[in-house]
């Protein structure tokens, strides 16, 4: 059954959180812009407005508070070929993490934002944003692809359990230490990867957008 939702947005956002085989229905716009969409799903914190319904990971007046869904095909992404750590975030947050990462078998990759291509290359993804912010929007994409997610302790984790399905630390040095440990003892963290994949399941795009379509219909009907 096709889900009657259309996703729009930047190609990067759609590659991580879009819906395959969209067929009409309400428009959900991922990322910045999209003022004419029915729903805008922002990355980070945002405030609700008079225009479209707003979903974000934090903020005031939101219609829903949630991370991005995970594009279905990412659940089938091939396991990482190498032992690369990807540090994601703005400077200087990212450098604070990367300067602490050592003892790596693989390479240290860096990016301002998470992109699908970088995710394919990485075995571990570290979100370098300071602690106390909500979990990054594309965090569940990392888990769905059986990579290890490492974050600085978020204010809101959307059901994730630290040390079970992902790893978290308060400081840049702490997340770097955890990332290095997962590289050094990859097999030891098999359970974290398994729990991570399980935690990502409710965020599967086809599940989330089907739910969203129903919710919009019910909300508009009443």
């Amino acid at each position: 059954m096709s889900i009657r939702v259309t996703t729009t947005g930047e190609p990067r956002a759609l590659a991580l959180a879009g819906l395959d085989g969209a067929a009409g229905g309400p428009v959900v716009h991922l990322g910045a812009g999209g003022e004419r969409a029915d729903v805008v799903w922002r990355e980070g914190t945002a405030d609700g407005c008079d225009g479209p319904r707003v979903i974000a990971q934090g903020g005031a007046g939101l219609w829903r508070c949630a991370p991005w869904p995970v594009r279905d095909e990412l659940f089938e992404l091939a396991p990482p070929a190498g032992r690369n750590v990807l540090a994601v975030g703005d400077e200087p947050d990212r450098s604070q993490v990367s300067e602490h990462v050592d003892q790596l078998d693989g390479r240290l990759l860096e990016a301002d934002v998470l992109e699908r291509g970088d995710l394919e290359e990485a075995a571990v993804v570290v979100f370098a944003q300071p602690d106390g912010r909500p979990l990054p929007a594309p965090a569940f994409a990392v888990l769905a692809t059986r990579r290890i997610l490492v974050v600085r302790t978020p204010s809101v984790s959307f059901g994730l359990l630290p040390g079970i399905d992902h790893l978290s630390a308060r400081t840049a040095a702490g997340v770097a230490q955890l990332a290095a440990a997962t590289m050094l003892h990859w097999d030891a963290f098999a359970a974290v990867r398994a729990f991570g994949t399980i935690a990502a399941q409710p965020h599967r795009a086809s599940t989330v957008y089907a739910r969203l379509a129903g919710d919009l219909k019910r909300a508009d009907a009443k």
Partner: protein, 413 residues
């Protein structure tokens, strides 16, 4: 077949009730002779279930021994049994917070034991087969007494406040009872709320909240029937039976997407799924249900319909019996892979603990630094005060004033 079930205790809880129920029904099956060991002490179980002490059970010989709850694994391994099984009803390491690292590791090690596995949910089957490819795993669903949890007659009140039943033990953080109460407190539409707990003592005090607990199954059924919906916002579940029971009675459920929810709840058919950490969004969903009684009625009808294929308690016990027969013939898991798996779990726990320890040490050093800075600042202020006092008392003006004061005293005499 001689079977021994090892339980942590006999006090009623979801997991123990399931295991004792299987024991009672197995005894009714031809060919099964079942003992129950309760490590927390011998007590009353269901009719027909023989309860032994561990010492007594250790003198027996069993075909299959089954443990439920991670702390019972050592006792299981010490029984004289041809095959041993862990009856996994949740991934129990998730019950503990990061600071309870030893309990977490202990619970994690249960999945590395040299045993086979029975699991109550499909997601647990995926987890266990992924982590333990060397062992065998049987899916044994949780059944329900269909004659007890039968559909109620009047499904939904046509009007009036929305009657919300919150299920969960409030003293367990992962049951999300605080989250549920927060959501209810944000509602705008008229409603009532009842908290249904295993043990109602020390329940949170919230205006208008009724608290009940310690109920028998028939009383549980009555409570479901008195409410319009069940609200359950747990963080961690295995296979949440209250959802199954409520749906059988015709009560739709509003749930967080915890593990196992999708094996019972179909969004828009028998309930609605709301997000974790989205109190505003969840309150809006409850408000919608309070306003839209036709939606509530559709979900109520859907709840009963979607449970038509759910196994009865007898069917589940039959599946349990089949699994026991199969496991008795299965080869025993090799110990080398299980030992390696245990060491790996230890390694991961140790690395996480090392980072936490370093962060605590860092925080301690930061606090120490702050205290030192404050001490030095205080010393500087005291020194400055002393210097100023010294400067004042040694000034000519001050000395002159002192002399004038003394002269004034002499004159008054």
């Amino acid at each position: 077949m001689r079977v021994c079930l090892v339980l942590p205790e006999l006090r009623p809880s979801g997991g123990v009730a399931i295991a004792v129920g299987h024991a009672a029904r197995l005894r009714a099956h031809a060919g099964f002779d079942v003992d129950v060991v309760a490590l927390g002490g011998v007590g009353e179980a269901s009719a027909g279930v023989r309860v032994l002490s561990l010492a007594d059970a250790q003198r027996e010989r069993y075909d299959v021994a089954v443990a439920t709850w991670w702390e019972t694994l050592p006792a299981l391994l010490e029984l004289d049994a041809r095959r041993r099984v862990a009856f996994v009803q949740s991934a129990e390491e998730r019950f503990y917070r990061p600071e309870e690292s030893f309990e977490r590791l202990g619970a994690a090690l249960a999945l590395t034991a040299p045993v086979h596995f029975f699991v109550v949910a499909r997601w647990l089957e995926n987890l266990v087969t992924g982590l333990r490819p060397d062992a065998r795993c049987w899916f044994v669903p949780n059944g329900i007494d269909k004659s007890l949890f039968e559909p109620r007659e009047a499904s939904v009140a046509p009007g009036g406040p929305l009657r919300i039943l919150i299920e969960g033990q409030h003293t367990l953080w992962f049951k999300g009872v605080d989250d549920a109460l927060d959501v209810v407190s944000r509602m705008r539409e008229p409603h009532t709320a009842t908290l249904l707990a295993l043990d109602p003592r020390d329940a949170p005090a919230q205006e208008g909240l009724a608290v009940i607990g310690g109920l028998r199954p028939d009383e549980m059924r009555e409570q479901y029937a008195r409410h319009d919906l069940l609200l359950k916002l747990s963080r961690v579940e295995g296979l949440p039976l209250p959802l199954v029971e409520a749906c059988h009675v015709g009560v739709p459920c509003v749930v967080a997407p915890f593990t196992g929810h999708d094996e019972v709840i179909r969004h828009g058919e028998n309930g609605l799924v709301v997000g974790f950490d989205d109190a505003g969004g969840a309150a809006a969903v409850l408000d919608l249900l309070a306003r839209d009684r036709s939606l509530l009625r559709r979900l109520s009808v859907g709840a009963v319909e979607t449970m038509s294929g759910w196994p009865s308690a007898d069917e589940a016990a039959a599946a349990f019996a089949t699994a026991l027969t199969d496991v008795a013939e299965a080869p025993e898991p090799r110990t080398a892979p299980t030992t390696a798996a245990a060491w790996r779990r230890w390694r991961a726990a140790a690395e996480v603990a090392r980072t936490e320890r370093d962060e605590v040490a860092l925080r301690f050093r930061e606090h120490e630094g702050s205290i030192r800075w404050l001490e030095e600042a205080l010393e500087r202020v005291i020194q400055q005060r002393d210097d100023e006092l010294e400067a004042l008392t040694s000034s000519r003006t001050y000395k002159l004033a002192q002399r004038m004061q003394r002269a004034s005293h002499l004159l008054r005499r």
